[in-house]
Amino acid sequence: MKVAMIGWEYPPFKVGGLGTHCYGLTRSLADKNVSIDFYMPKTKHSLKSDKDNLVIKEVGETEIFPYDRLGNKELAGQFFEAVYRYNDLLVRKVNGKYDLVHCHDWLTMKAGVVLKEKLDAPLVLTVHSTEYDRSGWLYPNDWFISIEKEGMEKADKIIAVSHFTKRVIVEKYGINPDKITVVHNAVYPIGESEKKKIVLFLGRLTIQKGPEFFLKAAKKVLKHEDTRFVVAGVGDMLPDLISQAINLGISNRVIFTGKLTEEEVKHIYKISSIYVMPSVSEPFGITALEAISAGTPTIVSKTAGVSEVFRNCLKVDFWDTDEMANKIIALLRYDALRKTMSEQSKQEIELFTWDRVAEKTVDVYRGIA
């Protein structure tokens, strides 16, 4: 089986779960004798695959950061143009004989829809997030929604990363639930090392990820416990978050790391005592699996996709910062809780392999190609 897969990021060039997913998925598919041409925008790095039946094909010169919320109209205009340019390039550059086209999220959907016609091949679409998630359900942008809706309608099969996302696709985009399959994400285990007294937030600093709730909880924890809080990542909320920490009077206990390299990310997961993912809207949340795979007890938002499938983590409502603080303090104080959670989650995390994701994806392919 030969697949034209269309993405927009691939490690080490990645900002989100989509890149991680494409990496794990394509490599495990390749191991299952599916041959893949992986198309993506050209990056500063030159990407190569070490697997024979996985070929990375960079298209054009565009680097796009689709998760930033653009306040500036001029920037936004350039951004939309760049997206069109990438999709146009894809339509021209993707040629040949494929059994199916598989694209990921809104950024590649326009090309996916045209390529389906051009190559006369069925279209599979994986939805990692929707505009509703990225906007934190505040003022979702119609322009994105219309692209997403068209892509979902034209796709022969849709893979959603959680039941939560499947519900959004059905309820908000009016898509027939029968053509949607839920495939939860996986993780390449990071491994453990010695812990420091650090409570970690790691993710894009955007409204979707709820970093302001992390800081509010930090304030409550610091009244009772002496610990350090680390906010790792960049995003449009960074200046506001720094001000928030100052206003809460906790800036001496909160460290903003800025952008981290992949190695630094692994390191911070390993040395943290607790990972918190307080997302307002989280289709899946691979970072939770990454933290857990580093032996770090994890608190996640109840509505996050990962909450549906992973038992051995703590769950909170993202807005309930009292409860979030209660759980952080409990984890800091009660050794037995930390120990049991990391032991139990170590066993459970072994079920979350990319091989399983690839297997389920192949099942979806077989249904149409």
Binding site: A336, L337, T340
Partner: protein
């Protein structure tokens, strides 16, 4: 003749309030802040209506219909009787009425349905057995002859203590772990003391308690006719069928046909000339031990493991248990009666059950009975309460 010994466990725990780390040290009254009295009342009233009252009425009718030939035994925990007295006194009245028929026997246990038998010494355990004895004497004017520990937790040490306390029999699980090839359908004697041990026939008991409405089970649908036939085919002196009382109408809803099953069971059983019903006291008089059992490590009737790992199986449970023990010593030194009562309510095994992290299959049963979404939630809540109590006795 093979005797059917039906025994029902009747218990409700005092479920806890949500208690966050921020509540620790607030210096509020423990009894009113630790326990969720509203929820407990709601659940009790619901179960009374769905299970206790209709089942008691049905059993009373059956005892009359069969002229006392249908005989049963109950174990009522102290917390259960307190609930009755506080919220639904008619439930207790109906148990008294059942007892008056003479076809109903009562079993002793720890007042608080506690894990006190697992403490380093058995003083607290003994006190709780005596509290239960006093309660049964006060309410029913009766002194039970047979003892059953919380969740049938049993070992040689407990057996010895129970003999010392003057009981004639003790109930536990008929697990292969202690029986090997031997049948549970006889009385046994503990290796170290002179007592009669009743061994629960777990397969036939769980057929009713767990599998009654399981569609995938080959025995489904279970009718009284079929079940009586199975009983009649058993060899031995006594078949011990020990079941949670809430099975009737609560774990197994009315719609499953559980009440019809019970309604027809005495008639179907008594059709067989080789079967009759006995209470636990009668069984102790009638049957002699056929062999010895040696139980150096505690067993129970819970989960697949049939040991105490359901309550003390992970680090969180052990941390709670150790904390609980330490606090108890301080409370006893201080002699504060209110805190002692609260401490004892916190010994109820259910609080530990909610913190169990056992595998998926058992985990599902745990999830059904737990007020928490996860064992970790149960741990944090319970441990926070223990920390508050600890501060109070410092």
């Amino acid at each position: 003749m093979t005797s059917i010994c039906f025994y029902f466990e009747v218990h409700q725990p005092m479920r806890l309030n949500r208690f966050s780390v921020f509540n620790i040290g607030e210096k509020n009254d423990s009894f009113s802040t630790y326990f969720n009295h509203k929820l407990n009342q709601q659940i009790f009233e619901k179960v009374a209506k769905k299970s206790y009252l209709p089942t008691n009425n049905l059993l009373l009718d059956l005892i009359h219909d069969f002229d006392g030939k249908f005989r049963i035994s109950f174990s009522l925990t102290g917390t259960f009787v307190e609930y009755c007295e506080r919220f639904v006194p008619t439930v207790l009245d109906s148990f008294k009425e059942l007892f008056k028929t003479g076809a109903v026997d009562l079993i002793e246990e720890t007042y608080f349905h506690s894990l006190s038998a697992l403490f380093d010494n058995l003083d607290e355990f003994e006190e709780q057995v005596k509290m239960h004895r006093q309660m049964i004497n006060r309410v029913f004017g009766y002194q039970p002859k047979v003892f059953r520990n919380t969740e049938a937790i049993y070992d040689n040490r407990i057996a010895k203590k129970i003999e010392e306390l003057g009981y004639k029999g003790i109930i536990t699980e008929g697990t292969e772990k202690i029986l090997g090839w031997r049948s549970p359908n006889f009385m046994y004697k503990p290796v170290n003391t002179n007592l009669k041990v009743f061994l629960r026939h777990y397969k036939l008991s769980d057929d009713v308690g767990f599998r009654f409405s399981a569609h995938g089970w080959p025995g489904f649908p279970l009718t009284a006719h079929k079940y009586a036939h199975w009983l009649s085919c058993c060899e031995g002196d006594i078949i011990n069928l020990f079941i949670d009382y809430e099975t009737f109408g609560e774990h197994q809803w009315t719609e499953t046909g559980i009440f019809d099953f019970i309604r027809h069971l005495p008639g179907e059983v008594l059709r067989y000339k080789n079967l009759d019903f006995v209470t636990v006291s009668e069984a102790v008089e009638r049957y002699e031990p056929v062999g010895e059992i040696d139980v150096p490590w505690a067993i129970s009737w819970a989960d697949e493991d049939r040991d105490v790992s359901t309550w003390l199986g992970n680090d969180m449970q052990i941390a709670c248990f150790n904390e609980l023990k330490d606090i108890g010593q301080r409370i006893k030194e201080r002699g504060d009666k209110d805190l002692l009562y609260v401490w004892r309510l916190l010994q109820t095994s259910d609080h530990f059950y909610y913190v169990s992290t056992k595998g998926f299959e058992d985990g599902n049963v745990h999830a059904y009975f737990s007020p928490y979404d996860a064992p970790y939630e149960g741990f944090i809540n319970y441990m926070n309460i223990l920390q508050d109590l600890k501060q109070k006795v410092h």
